[in-house]
Every structure is written in structure tokens, then in C-alpha cells.
């Protein structure tokens, strides 16, 4: 028992939790922007996967991992615009389009992987973004061991949460974003361009999900492997709901899910089945949806296409 308790508060587990949470945080922020604008983005998973592949590919071709980050963001934007185009322009069912993108992303990445590397399963090892040590922070006892030395993308994710919060709640753009997702016609009648807002938000969503994928392939690991997102896009979606569509709420949820993930690896040694821990995010989301942790109500117009006039 003492062994388990020590594990629960182990700084190495906390540090690992932060790493496991990073891709979730990016994707969840993406989910927030999209849903806040009124477009359900179930395609986070596929966007992450394509981001992960692109980052690996660009890093492999150029030897510059940071260029891989840029490539992944651009790829995410392209997929985001594709999602937006079908959902907004053609008013297709957003869940169906998202599902299609997920299936498409799974197939495309496998195809490209085999086409370029001939390998089944995983890519060769590619240059990665190295971890950095933050001078003063790393000296602080306990905390330093958790956040003192991490990957730059981990810090970027945390920074992105703060920026996202400011954008959503403190800028005119954020005010319009929330209005468009709640009552698009009201926004339209005061001259806010509903379609433009939604395209921007979904493209941003793709960019963030792409960043999440990047972390997996060229920071956490140094290669791409088939289906390597392993449902993280959906866990991020769960974090959005669990965090009540707010950046800080989603951060909390992602950290918690990341912690569960980190713990899971350790607990295997103690004999708790992996599957049990893998189940946790979804069980918690259902608990949240059932209203046990306050009511979690999303943007009212989320999932509904806007028809002008």
C-alpha cells in the first residue's frame, strides 16, 4: 500500500503526466475553438494523426524538427478547412464528416508511410525537438523536478492555454466566437460574419490538433507509427466536455487524464490491468455528462449548420 501511495505522489509520475497531457491539451484547445464557433469537431483524432505524420515526414526530409512543427500546423489547417468546408458550406452532418476525416486520416497516413518508407508499421527514427532545462525553475525543489526540464512543446501547450483563455474571454474576437456558437443569427444581425468566424475557428482547431500530433511523433517519440494517436483525439474531446468548454477546465481534465496515463504505466508493475486505466477518461466523461459534476452545457448552436436569411 505504501508503495502505491509513494507512486501517486512521485515527481517522475507527475512529470510524465505533464508529458502525456501535452498532446491532449493542444487537441482539446482545438476542440474548444471549433465547438465554441458552433462546429462539432470529432475529427481531432484524424487531424492529430496527420499532424504527427507530417511533422515526422518534414523532419525526416529536412532534418529540421521545428520545420516539422510548421508543416504539421499547416497540414492541420488544411484538414480543418476541409472539415469546415463540408460542415459550413455544404451543411453536412458534422459528426459524419468528422468520422470520415478520421477514417481518411488513418488510411492516408498508412498509405504514405508505406509509399515513402516501404516499412509496415513505423517510420525510421527522425530528428526530434530536444528537451530544454529552464534555468531558475529547475532549481526549485520538487516543482523543478516536474516542470524544470521538459520539451519546449510542453511549455508551448501551457502557454497556449493561457492565450486561448484570453482570446476567448477577453478579446472582441472571442466575444464574437462565443456569440456565433450560441446564437449565430443574433451575431449575423449585428454584422458579424458567421461563416468567416466558423472557418477561422475550425482552421485554428486543425492547427492546434496538428500541434498535438507533432508532439507525439517528434518530441515524445522520434518516429511515426500507424494509428499512433490511439484515441487521444477522442480523449481530448472528452476533456473539452469535462472542462465545460473552457481552456482552464480542459487543461485540468487533460492533466488528470495524463496523470491517469502516467500512473497506468507504473501500476502495471503493481498488477492493476492497463485496460482499467485506459477506461478511466471515458468513464469520467460519462460521469460528467450525467451531471454529477455540475451541469456541462455546450454552446447552444454547436453541431447546427447556419442557414442565412
Amino acid at each position: 500500500m505504501g508503495e502505491v501511495l509513494a507512486l501517486l505522489f512521485n515527481t517522475a509520475v507527475f512529470a510524465a503526466a505533464l508529458r502525456m497531457a501535452t498532446p491532449l491539451i493542444f487537441a482539446a484547445l482545438g476542440g474548444i475553438f471549433s465547438e465554441r464557433s458552433g462546429v462539432v469537431n470529432i475529427a481531432l483524432e484524424g487531424m492529430m494523426l496527420i499532424g504527427a505524420f507530417t511533422a515526422m515526414f518534414v523532419s525526416h526530409q529536412t532534418g529540421l524538427p521545428w520545420l516539422g512543427v510548421v508543416g504539421a500546423v499547416l497540414a492541420g489547417i488544411v484538414i480543418g478547412l476541409l472539415h469546415a468546408f463540408f460542415c459550413i458550406h455544404y451543411r453536412a452532418n458534422q459528426v459524419v464528416v468528422g468520422t470520415a476525416i478520421n477514417i481518411f486520416a488513418g488510411g492516408l497516413t498508412v498509405f504514405l508511410l508505406r509509399y515513402y518508407f516501404g516499412a509496415a508499421g513505423t517510420s525510421p527514427s527522425v530528428p526530434t525537438i530536444p528537451d530544454i532545462t529552464i534555468p531558475v525553475l529547475s532549481q526549485i525543489p520538487w516543482i523543478g523536478r516536474i516542470i524544470g526540464r521538459q520539451n519546449p512543446l510542453v511549455y508551448l501547450a501551457l502557454l497556449a492555454v493561457v492565450v486561448a483563455h484570453l482570446v476567448v474571454y477577453r478579446t472582441p474576437w472571442g466575444l464574437r466566437l462565443r456569440a456565433v456558437g450560441e446564437h449565430p443569427r443574433a451575431a449575423d444581425t449585428v454584422g458579424v460574419h458567421v461563416f468567416r468566424m466558423r472557418y477561422l475557428a475550425v482552421a485554428l482547431s486543425g492547427a492546434l490538433a496538428g500541434l498535438g500530433g507533432t508532439y507525439l511523433s517528434i518530441a515524445h517519440l522520434s518516429r511515426f507509427s500507424e494509428g499512433m494517436t490511439a484515441g487521444r483525439g477522442f480523449i481530448a474531446l472528452a476533456a473539452v466536455i469535462f472542462g465545460k468548454w473552457t481552456p482552464y477546465g480542459a487543461l485540468g481534465a487533460c492533466l488528470f487524464f495524463g496523470y491517469a496515463d502516467a500512473l497506468q504505466m507504473r501500476l502495471q508493475d503493481v498488477g492493476v490491468p492497463t485496460q482499467f486505466m485506459n477506461m478511466l477518461p471515458y468513464v469520467l466523461t460519462m460521469v460528467a455528462l450525467a451531471g454529477f459534476i455540475g451541469k456541462s452545457v455546450g454552446p447552444k448552436a454547436s453541431g447546427e449548420p447556419y442557414i442565412k436569411g
Binding site: L166, R170, T171, P172, G174, L175, R176, R178, A179, E182, H183, R185, A186, A187, D188, T189, V190, G191, V192, K300, G309
Partner: protein, 516 residues
């Protein structure tokens, strides 16, 4: 006087209807111009064109002497045109100030300057005497206050032409009075106002001029002072309309509906109906007056079997129907015109004929043998009700969705009334229904009463309560605060009681000079 706005020969064709057919409309500086007509006569379409939500197929718009193309709301806003919609364009989780400045936000660096937004709203609300808390969330405001936010929204954008689309449809009588005061103030400050309504009384009370539309065409424009109720109604409907329902004194018989200490809660466990004792007798109309949301809906739903009673008992005739299923209640002799006809009264994607047998579709003569539908009987029934209730267009196979609100309501009324129930509940039976159909439905209610039905009428329209009821009960905050016979009732007294006033205090209030 100069015109601030002229619309010339506006034509708008929708897929199946010609919504506006060469309509001319103009607005003078600082006038209140009422735009009236039955539902579907093209009033809202005309104003939506002016606000840039639709584009006209033909015709010209001239604002302050200059021809303009208004192809989106932003253009209208720039022309200082503001619109208050019938269904409010407010974002509920946002605050009053946020809603008002949305789309025209003040910035502090990169950020939205919410402090100044609050200040600006406070200034504006002081300037026009429209008191409001800028920091309140829209979701927490009453309908009347939400409308005030809509007006402030237009004023914040500097509106000099203000369009209000059926602004009184959702208001209580007192709120209507407040709104009229506000509009008169705005007019005095130079705002030109277009006021869309189908209520003739409001036209006469408020407007300087009035234009009437009928089936997409303009019938005429008149100075309000030169017209009257009868004249306007004829212009709107195209025939003579009777306002006063011709009715003989009631011949009340034994009790048909009796509620004893009935208490009903909503889904959150809030008490909505609080120990109500009430009865309705054969051959009388009992009207329940009250501001919406004071428990009327829950009361009616409890009787209809659509909502559980927390305690108390309900009797229909000598049968107890407390917490019975809706079907059981119906079989006990119950007819019901629900307040939300789209949700509870009709299946919009069924034909008129199918809607006319809802609830009795499993009974003779609509089934042959044990379960086979008898189409011939269904259509015979439909033809008969369509003729008797003047449902237009008279096509049994048409989808209910494609009919106007008034004709949809006639389907519900026709279906329920022709079953000759012992107890008939009519909840908001003429909501959103135009003058001609109101007259007809009122006559039918009285006809049911005279045939011996006990009628329970729930209405937010005081006129309706006053002209149909033999007794009037006022509901406030879940309780029946007063039951009066029709001859003791005045509109003013009802309004006072509906807002929680006590009958003992009524006289005192009168002396204090309640402006009328």
C-alpha cells in the same frame, strides 16, 4: 414633411409564395408608422428586406433621399437602421453589455474593453430612461427586459430608424404600456419607428400612420386618426369582422372538473402549482388570466395527464383522473387545445387529414376490423371538418406544415371540438392567429359552451379572457389569487392582480392615479 425612408414597388418571390408584390412604403422623420396585416401578409418580409436579411427581386429603397443597396445587416446598421426581432437576437450566456456592443466592440489594446462597454450602456440607458443592469446575464432577465436590451442594441448603433417586429407578442399588458412609453420617448427624440403588429388596438394607441398589407400587397396607408378598429380590420381581412362575440348568459350546470389542493412541480422540483382548488361547471367558460410562467401551463398539463401531480386530486365528472395517462383522461371526455400547437397539437409533417384523427386514430370509424386503417373514413372526416372550420387551403392531403398559423390552429380546434368533450381546455387558443381566425375560434368556443361543455380557457390576452369568460380566475405564482364573475372584472383590475397585487389593495392603487 420629409421622408427618411421610401420603399418603391418592392417585390419578393419565395419558392412557393409571392411574399411582397410591388409594395410601397415610406416613413417620415420622427413618426411612428404601424405596419399591420394578418400572418403571412408579408410585413416581416418587407422589413427583413430593409434590414438586409433578404434581398428584393425588384424595387428600390431610398434612405434619406439616396437610393441604397442593402445586401447585409451591416449596411443597414451603417445607414442607422435598427431592428428589434420578434424572436430576440440575444446570446443568453453573455451579459447585457456584451450583447449590446457585440459586433461593434470597444478595444483596449488587443482586448475587449468590458469596463467601457458597461459604462456606455449605463450612459445610454440613462439617456433614454431604459433602466437595465449592464452586468446581468441575458438568461436571467424577463422577456420585457430582454426586449429593452434589443432596443438599446439598436440605439447603441445610433439607429435613427427603428423597426420593431411584433414587439408586443411576448409582453404582459403592463410591459406593453412600458414599451409604448419608451417608443413615445424615442419618437420625441427624433427616432422614426416602424411598428409591426396584427393587433389593431395597439395601432390606434400608438401610431401616427398605418399601412395595411394583405397577401403580399399593400391595401393602403392612412393617418391613424382617420381610421378605426372596424375599418382597419376590414382592410386586413378583406371583409367585415365582428369583434364582440355574440353570447347569451351562461347556463351553468353541475361541476365537470374539480381540483382539490392540486400541487404540481416542474422537472427541477420547483412548486409551480400551489394547492389549487378550482372547479369548472357544465355550460360555462372559466378563464384563467395570468402572466405566463405563473403555473398555468403546469396546471393544464397536470389535468391532461402530461405531468404528474405532486399532491392533490383531480376529478372529471365523477371519475378521479389524478395522474391518469393522457389517453385515459381523453376517454373520460376531455378535449385539449394545447398552448404550443407545434409541439403538442400537431404532427407538422403529417397531412391535414391525419392530424384531424390524432388521438382517435385507433377508434371507430377510422379502423376497420381490428387494426386496418379506413382511409375513406379518415378523408370523409377531414372533408367535413375542413368545411365546417373553414380550413384553408381546403386540401386534406396537404402537410400541416404548409398551412398558416391560423389554419393550423383551426385543425387542432376542429379535431378537439368535433369530439364534443365534456371538458374542453383551450390554452392560448388564438396565439399567433390573425383577426379573422380569432373571431371564428371565439365563436366556436362559445358554441361548445352552449352545447354543454365545461370550458377552461387559459390566455395571456386579456381581451380574450374578458370577451369569452363567464368567470375569471387570476393565477399568480402558482396560486389562484382571485375568482370573479365576469361582470366584476375590468381589464385594469386583472392587470393589477396578475402582477401580484392583492384585491384589497386594488382601490388604493387606483386613487394613486395609475395612468391609463
Amino acid at each position: 414633411m420629409d421622408k427618411v425612408l421610401e420603399m418603391h414597388a418592392i417585390t419578393k418571390q419565395f419558392p412557393r409564395v409571392l411574399a411582397n408584390d410591388q409594395v410601397d412604403f415610406d416613413l417620415e422623420y420622427g413618426e411612428i408608422h404601424a405596419l399591420v396585416g394578418e400572418n403571412g401578409s408579408g410585413k416581416s418580409t418587407l422589413m427583413n428586406i430593409l434590414y438586409g436579411l433578404y434581398q428584393q427581386d425588384a424595387g428600390e429603397i431610398v434612405v434619406r433621399g439616396r437610393p441604397v443597396q442593402i445586401n447585409e445587416p451591416r449596411v443597414a446598421i451603417d445607414l442607422k437602421i435598427g431592428m428589434v426581432f420578434q424572436h430576440f437576437m440575444l446570446v443568453e450566456p453573455l451579459t447585457v453589455a456584451e450583447n449590446i456592443v457585440l459586433g461593434a466592440e470597444l478595444k483596449k489594446g488587443l482586448f475587449f474593453d468590458s469596463k467601457r462597454a458597461v459604462q456606455e450602456v449605463e450612459n445610454l440607458s440613462r439617456q433614454y430612461g431604459l433602466t437595465i443592469d449592464p452586468r446581468a446575464k441575458i438568461a436571467d432577465l424577463s422577456v420585457g427586459l430582454q426586449q429593452r436590451v434589443e432596443i438599446l442594441k439598436a440605439l447603441y448603433r445610433g439607429a435613427e430608424i427603428l423597426i420593431l417586429d411584433e414587439p408586443t407578442a411576448v409582453l404582459t399588458p403592463q410591459e406593453v404600456e412600458d414599451l409604448f412609453k419608451v417608443l413615445r420617448t424615442l419618437k420625441a427624440k427624433g427616432t422614426s419607428i416602424v411598428f409591426i403588429t396584427h393587433k389593431i388596438k395597439e395601432v390606434l394607441a400608438l401610431s401616427d400612420r398605418v399601412s395595411v398589407l394583405r397577401r403580399g400587397r399593400k391595401v393602403g396607408t392612412k393617418a391613424t386618426a382617420e381610421t378605426d378598429e372596424q375599418n382597419l380590420a376590414e382592410m386586413m381581412v378583406g371583409r367585415v369582422v365582428l369583434f364582440n362575440v355574440d353570447k347569451k348568459p351562461a347556463q351553468p350546470g353541475p361541476e365537470v372538473l374539480r381540483m382539490e389542493q392540486l400541487t404540481v412541480e416542474d422537472q427541477f422540483g420547483q412548486v409551480k402549482v400551489d394547492q389549487v382548488d378550482l372547479s369548472v361547471r357544465k355550460g360555462e367558460v372559466l378563464g384563467i388570466a395570468g402572466v405566463e410562467g405563473n403555473g398555468q401551463s403546469e396546471l393544464v398539463e397536470a389535468i391532461a395527464g402530461l405531468r404528474k401531480a405532486a399532491s392533490g386530486r383531480i376529478f372529471l365528472g365523477d371519475r378521479e383522473i389524478t395522474n391518469s395517462s393522457p389517453l385515459k383522461v381523453r376517454e373520460a371526455g376531455f378535449g385539449y387545445v394545447p398552448e404550443d400547437r407545434h409541439r403538442r397539437g400537431l404532427v407538422l409533417d403529417y397531412t391535414v387529414a391525419d392530424n384531424l384523427i390524432l388521438g382517435i386514430h385507433g377508434k371507430k370509424p377510422f379502423v376497420k376490423g381490428c387494426m386496418i386503417r379506413d382511409d375513406q373514413a379518415v378523408y370523409e372526416n377531414a372533408e367535413q371538418i375542413i368545411e365546417q372550420y373553414d380550413i384553408r387551403p381546403p386540401v386534406a392531403k396537404q402537410l400541416a406544415r404548409s398551412l398558416s398559423g391560423g389554419n393550423q390552429q383551426k385543425i387542432v380546434v376542429g379535431r378537439e371540438f368535433t369530439q364534443n368533450p365534456d371538458l374542453l381546455i383551450c390554452a392560448q387558443p388564438t396565439r399567433g392567429v390573425d383577426v379573422g381566425a380569432i373571431e371564428f375560434i371565439h365563436q366556436q368556443v362559445i358554441a361548445q359552451r352552449d352545447q354543454g361543455a365545461a370550458v377552461l380557457l387559459v390566455s395571456a390576452e386579456l381581451d380574450e379572457i374578458l370577451s369569452l369568460s363567464d368567470r375569471v380566475a387570476v393565477m399568480y405564482n402558482g396560486k389562484i389569487v382571485s375568482v370573479m364573475s365576469a361582470d366584476e372584472v375590468t381589464e385594469h383590475k386583472l392587470g393589477f392582480l396578475m402582477l401580484g397585487g392583492r384585491l384589497e389593495d386594488y382601490g388604493a392603487n387606483e386613487v394613486n392615479g395609475h395612468a391609463k
